[in-house]
């Protein structure tokens, strides 16, 4: 442990930007801090800048401007020390398939400077923890997708990283394995005490796992707060109306009648309206009064999808 930086945030990002050759601005001056022990989510669709941000934090992408520090260490200036404190689970499989699971563990442990005795002990413990004990001496090429993903997460933990980056850890997995892995990730902080930065475009995953989330859109952070706080801004009930007319015009008419607020939005043929103090019946009555025929209606609690769409659906929302 590094006693001189115990008071600094685990991750500190200031004005971080990345412009690729050719002028594409992937990340546009983002700022955030992640406290030690926090599980922090970077949310957004493909192309939002999440993976580029993780690339800069893990020193494989050179920032164009701004700074990023892991436990006080600047990732651009003191890259090796920053990497010593962290580990990454990548979006795509990053393993030596021809080698056994044990060999993959062992290589990671040695590169992170774990002593032989500690490495042997931790490999056995992690293999037990992640249900890999029976697979450990088989080539990784024989593992299923879920087993390989568990191996990658367990491998990242063998160096006891203070900061763990999980870049879209469940993408491409079938639903059963995905839910299993969400359970594993949910237990990481309690069991290993690491600070976790998770990127995902599965908003339910972020809602379940993260203390705070930053929603990224087109290279910027458009919202950053606790999931519950972001959801509370939408009230406790969302009304969905499926319409067969122009949804943008329909939403504008509902707004003009005062039954839909600025936080209502339209995606495709569906209008989504936070109900708040109004009654659902009042909204539906108002819709009928302006001649709006809803082909289907439903109500549900708000989700982070709603938060995201409200914040970023510029071209869809009226």
């Amino acid at each position: 442990m590094h006693d001189n930086d115990t008071n600094s945030p685990a991750i500190s990002v200031r004005g971080l930007s990345k412009t690729w050759a050719g002028g594409v601005e992937a990340v546009k001056g983002i700022d955030f801090d992640v406290a030690t022990g926090e599980v922090f989510g970077l949310l957004g669709p493909n192309g939002a800048g999440k993976s580029t941000t993780v690339g800069m934090l893990t020193t494989t992408v050179r920032p164009t401007s701004g700074s990023a520090r892991l436990h006080g260490r600047d990732v651009a200036i003191d890259a090796i020390a920053a990497r010593a404190d962290s580990a990454v689970v990548f979006q795509d499989p990053v393993v030596d398939r021809a080698l056994t699971g044990r060999r993959n563990f062992d290589i990671h442990a040695r590169l992170w400077g774990v002593s032989d005795d500690d490495a042997s002990r931790r490999i056995e413990e992690l293999a037990d923890s992640f249900d890999l004990a029976d697979l450990l001496d088989r080539p990784v090429a024989t593992y299923s997708g879920g087993q390989r993903r568990r191996l990658e997460i367990a491998r990242a933990l063998v160096s006891e990283p203070r900061v763990l980056f999980l870049d879209e850890p469940t993408v491409g997995l079938d639903p059963r394995i995905r839910y299993e892995l969400i359970d594993v990730i949910a237990g990481l902080r309690a069991r290993f005490g690491a600070t976790v930065l998770l990127t995902t475009h599965y908003l339910d995953e972020a809602e379940r796992l993260c203390d705070r989330v930053a929603i990224m859109h087109a290279g910027r952070i458009v919202a950053l707060d606790r999931p519950a706080t972001l959801l509370a801004a939408l009230g406790d009930q969302m009304l969905e109306l499926r319409v067969d007319t122009d949804p943008i015009a329909a939403l504008a008419r509902l707004r003009s009648r005062g039954v839909a607020g600025d936080d209502s939005f339209a995606v495709g043929a569906t209008l989504t309206i936070p109900v708040r103090g109004r009654s659902v019946d009042a909204v539906l009555t108002a819709a009928r009064e302006i001649g709006l025929a809803a082909t289907a209606t439903s109500t549900r609690p708000p989700t982070l999808d709603d938060v995201y769409l409200r914040l970023t659906g510029d071209t869809l929302a009226a």
Binding site: R62, R83, V88, V94, D96, R97, L99, I107, L111, G113
Partner: protein, 286 residues
């Protein structure tokens, strides 16, 4: 899954190790990893050996039987050393395929996230390419000797041979790593492989002296690192009159010519190694 119940022991205090120890340990780990991957890949071990073995054991004796002569030299032995000049480029270029596969489907990104100096990944790959090449050269030379090649071995001769072979290996691995970091797919890399690894073999004096070529091609051959390395290898094990070196330099002092050729190959090795490290760095730190 029992993941929710097990608990690891508390994190241990990290002790900083001296930088030399850390670097050596990382280099050893990366080298052992690359070696473990290579020995599980028959393509890397056997395929580069096939053509040179064919030349040394079948084509060279067949050519020798119909009469080509090299003044003062046994053609069979002349061609046997010539096949080493095919084996080294082929093997090093095949090693480049492993670089691309490592990047596309292997664990390279985890290595890049490790707290070690990243050029060590290239150096470890180079070390393994040289190790495998060394084993293959020994196999090839022994096979040629069993087939009838007559090689003279002395300490200084072996030193010239090894110096030339190692520097040629470093040069060719530098080319391989450079191209592997530039080509996005294995298919594109394999498409370029024959032009880089095989074509120079026909110009470098492998099967006949370079002076047998038209004068313009002789001049071109003198620029190739392979020509210098091959003349040195023959000077070490076969051609004590240094006729191959004389064809390049036109001088009379064999040691001087050998030193000059070794310098040329060393310069190529340094240049392509620097290019390899530069393209690697650009490819991993975008």
């Amino acid at each position: 899954m029992s993941a929710s119940t097990a608990t690891l022991a508390p994190a241990t205090v990290r002790r900083e190790r001296p930088i030399v120890t850390r670097t050596l340990s990382a280099f050893t780990t990366l080298t052992r990893r690359r070696l473990a991957l290579s020995v599980r890949t028959p393509r890397e071990l056997l395929v580069p050996l096939l053509t040179p073995i064919l030349f040394a054991l079948v084509i060279a004796p067949a050519l020798a039987s119909i009469g080509p002569t090299i003044p003062g030299l046994d053609y069979m032995s002349f061609a046997a050393i010539g096949t080493v000049a095919l084996l080294i480029p082929l093997n090093c270029m095949f090693a480049g395929i492993g670089v691309i596969l490592d990047r596309e489907t292997g664990a390279r990104r985890d290595l890049l996230a490790a707290p070690v100096s990243r050029p060590l990944i290239v150096l470890a790959n180079l070390a393994v390419a040289l190790m495998i090449t060394a084993v293959q050269v020994v196999v090839l030379v022994l096979a040629a000797m069993l087939r009838g090649a007559d090689l003279n071995t002395s300490a200084s001769g072996i030193a010239w041979f090894l110096g030339a072979a190692v520097l040629l290996g470093i040069t060719m691995y530098g080319v391989a790593e450079t191209l592997a970091n530039r080509f996005p797919t294995v298919e594109q890399y394999v498409g370029a492989l024959p032009a880089i690894a095989i074509v120079p073999f026909f110009f470098a004096g492998s099967l006949f002296p370079i002076t047998a070529l038209p004068w313009a091609l002789t001049g071109f051959a003198r620029l190739l690192p392979l020509t210098h390395a091959l003349a040195l290898m023959r000077y070490g094990l076969l051609d004590h009159n240094a006729s191959g070196l004389h064809d390049i330099w036109g001088m009379s002092n064999a040691t001087t010519m050998a030193a000059l050729s070794l310098t040329v190959v060393a310069a190529y090795a340094a240049t392509f190694s620097a290019m390899a490290l530069r393209t690697f760095r650009k490819s991993v730190e975008s």
